[in-house]
């Protein structure tokens, strides 16, 4: 009989065919769909993440795992309402105005999604107003900005200014990254967090979400 542990292992192995068999078997057995997601599919990605961080897994392998998880999700999703789909939080992310580098950003999106975040990817060359409009529309918890050029890193600052001008700055945490960006720069321009790789970026988001959800923050 299939177990939740088999599902996790299958995600780790990145077996796109087997996952359908396993998840369907669990559904047929009457396993709680939320448990399949949390203790099977996402639990599998939770094994993948540290292996990626320590260099034991390559990105293509992580992507296969993420695809496998999504394949399993497809079977489970129709059984639950959208609100029941567990999400750690909502993140809007994009590469700033004038910049087309997106490989690092895309990796981030994949890691965030596979660790249970809902991610809205605005793409590349995202104008200041577009970030702001997306914040208003989607009401995310976190906004992520990527910049790879010394001449576009200032666009992070102008985007933050835009969010301030539009009165939405305080409702989100802002994280930034990319080759020329540093913690010092992040502090200078008033971003809330910086990271230089995808794994720690997710940990940063986890930290921010736990701060946002802490009672102190809620009462503030």
């Amino acid at each position: 009989m299939a177990t939740l542990k088999d599902v996790s292992q299958c995600v780790l192995d990145g077996d796109l065919d087997e996952i359908k068999v396993l998840v369907q078997a669990l559904i047929d057995d009457g396993t709680d769909p939320i448990a399949i997601i949390n203790d099977g599919l996402i639990a599998g990605m939770n094994i993948v993440a540290p292996l990626f961080k320590s260099g034991e897994m390559f990105v293509p392998e992580v992507m296969e795992s993420a695809d496998t998880m999504n394949e399993g999700m497809k079977l489970v999703k129709p059984l639950i309402t959208d609100e029941d789909i567990p999400s750690k939080g909502k993140i809007i992310i994009g590469t700033v105005n004038g910049d087309l580098h997106d490989i690092g950003k895309n990796l981030l999106v994949m890691m965030m999604e596979s660790r249970g975040y809902t991610v809205i990817d605005l793409g590349v060359d995202v104008k200041e107003e577009a970030f702001s409009a997306a914040v208003k529309e989607h009401q995310p918890n976190i906004v992520g900005m990527s910049s790879l050029l010394t001449t576009t890193m200032m666009k992070i600052e102008s985007t933050i200014k835009q969010l301030v001008a539009d009165g939405v700055r305080n409702q989100v945490k802002i994280i930034i990254g990319g080759a020329p960006v540093t913690q010092e720069f992040a502090d200078d321009i008033g971003a809330d967090g910086y990271s230089d790789d995808a794994s720690t970026a997710v940990e940063l988001c986890d930290l921010m979400m736990s701060e946002q959800n802490s009672p102190e923050e809620l009462s503030a």
Binding site: V59, I103, N106, D125, L149, T150, T151, M154
Partner: protein, 458 residues
């Protein structure tokens, strides 16, 4: 009419060395690139700042300080000549008036250095490939295409010696091939989209340079193979995958030469040794002295057959000794002095082999730059004239070459490398020889929102 390369440019591997090549190129100032001496090629960029009408005077001052500083140091160190590269930031190409202004500042600095110190210089102007600002990219018309050409034309009229570009045709598909380590997709992107776009682009650039007494120098697989190298360096994709991509990118880069480019190919085109082996044209390379721009596992071997030696890029920031571009200038000059002294001493081959030996066994990406490997693979590549088949063959030959090298213990490898090489080998075998048939097969996996087939003539 496009040139055809049906045989390699060398008959003796010992002639395949740095500093000289069968088809040297002479600059307006009389520097003979590939004529015996390796020249430094200096590149620099702005520190963190916005570029607009208000900040442009500041940017202009920065560039004039840089050029004055680097050329003064070059003269003090008796450089035999300096190649300057102006690789534009996107704003300089998007607003050609800014790019033209900076190019003129550099040309003027070169003229002053010639008058003051008698220093020989030349300049390579490298606009951005703006076309990818449209998503999906519009490759053959439109405002981005026209704006790019406008910058080229005026810079050539103003006196630039060389044109280059890091063109991006096919990259929109290749990016996902890289992160998925999918060799079939990579071969499609490089061998069909990339090669088709290069044909179109370089025909225009060659015509434009001929009309304005400037040389079409060459392209770079930066967006393809260097992206792979950076990803491998971060541990994100297997090093063997990046090594295979490097050679798979050769036929694409070669298209510029078929269309009439003459070199020196671009610094970040680490596939340069293959281009030199096949075309006999001079190449620019970068390695250890470009660590200011990005890390690599090919620091020494990259110099083995280089004709100009570059730092890729460095920001105008202050280091303990001097501003960073001046530091780069000094480092490049000393690197070149050593190489040129070995030549004068009759020890050029020995020096080349030391450069090769110090890196080639330590990383598969260095291994594929070994002159003997380059020559062996190049000799096979020129047997076919079809760009797609050449691309497929390049991948196939590199996989075989690396498997053999790993089994024979000639190069360090990760325990997972063989598995990846096997996987690539099997995937390449499934690719049909007919490009149309391959395209039809690929349609089901291609993200058709990302590219417009007709922009690639398919």
């Amino acid at each position: 009419m496009a040139k055809k390369f049906t045989k390699v440019a060398y008959t003796n591997l010992d002639d395949f060395v740095y500093g000289s090549c069968p088809n040297p190129v002479t600059t307006k100032s009389g520097m003979v690139i590939g004529g015996g001496v390796v020249y430094p090629e200096i590149n620099f960029t702005l520190p963190g700042m916005d570029i607009n009408d208000v900040t442009m005077p500041k940017a202009a001052t920065i560039y004039s300080n840089i050029i004055e500083g680097v050329l003064k140091r070059a003269a003090e160190l008796y450089a035999p000549g300096v190649l300057i590269e102006f690789e534009t930031l996107p704003d300089f190409t998007e607003h050609p008036k800014y790019g033209i202004e900076v190019n003129r500042i550099l040309l003027n600095g070169m003229k002053e250095a010639s008058e003051k110190y008698g220093l020989k210089t030349a300049i390579r102007t490298t606009p951005n490939d703006l076309r990818e600002f449209s998503r999906p990219p519009i490759m053959r018309s439109g405002k981005y295409w026209e704006t790019m050409l406008e910058l080229y034309e005026q810079c050539a009229k103003d006196g630039s010696d060389f044109f280059s570009i890091e063109s991006t045709g096919g990259k929109e598909i290749h990016d996902s091939a890289l992160v998925k380590a999918d060799i079939r997709l990579a071969i499609f992107a490089l061998g069909i989209l990339g090669c088709n776009d290069m044909e179109f682009l370089w025909k225009h650039l060659v015509d434009l340079s001929n009309a304005n007494s400037c040389f079409a120098a060459g392209d770079s697989s930066c967006g393809f193979a260097n992206t792979a190298m950076v990803l491998a360096e971060k541990g994100f994709i297997p090093h063997v995958f990046a090594a295979v991509i490097r050679v798979t990118a050769v036929p694409r880069a070669l298209v510029a030469f078929e269309q009439g480019a003459v070199g020196p190919s671009k610094d970040c085109a680490y596939e340069g040794p293959y281009l030199k082996a096949i075309t006999g044209s001079p190449i620019s390379m970068e390695g250890k002295t470009a660590a200011c721009a990005h890390l690599s596992p090919v620091g020494n071997i990259a110099a083995a057959v280089a004709d100009t030696w570059s730092n890729e890029s460095v920001q105008q920031v202050k280091l303990l000794s001097e501003m960073a571009p001046i530091v780069s200038m000094e480092q490049l000059i000393y690197d070149c002095r050593l190489m040129n002294a070995a030549t004068v001493n009759g020890q050029q081959l020995m020096f080349r082999d030391l450069l090769v030996r110090s890196d080639s066994a330590l990383d598969v990406q260095a291994y594929v730059l070994r002159p003997d490997v380059v020559m062996r693979i190049s000799t096979e590549l020129v047997k076919t004239q079809d760009n797609f088949l050449r691309t497929k063959l390049a991948a196939q030959l590199t996989v075989a070459e690396l498997k053999k090298a790993i089994i024979e213990g000639k190069v360090k490898s990760d325990k997972r490398d063989m598995k990846w090489l096997d996987k690539m080998e099997k995937a390449i075998e499934t690719i049909p020889d007919d490009p149309q048939e391959f395209y039809n097969e690929m349609k089901s996996v291609l993200d058709m929102d990302k590219f417009i087939p007709s922009e690639y003539g398919i």
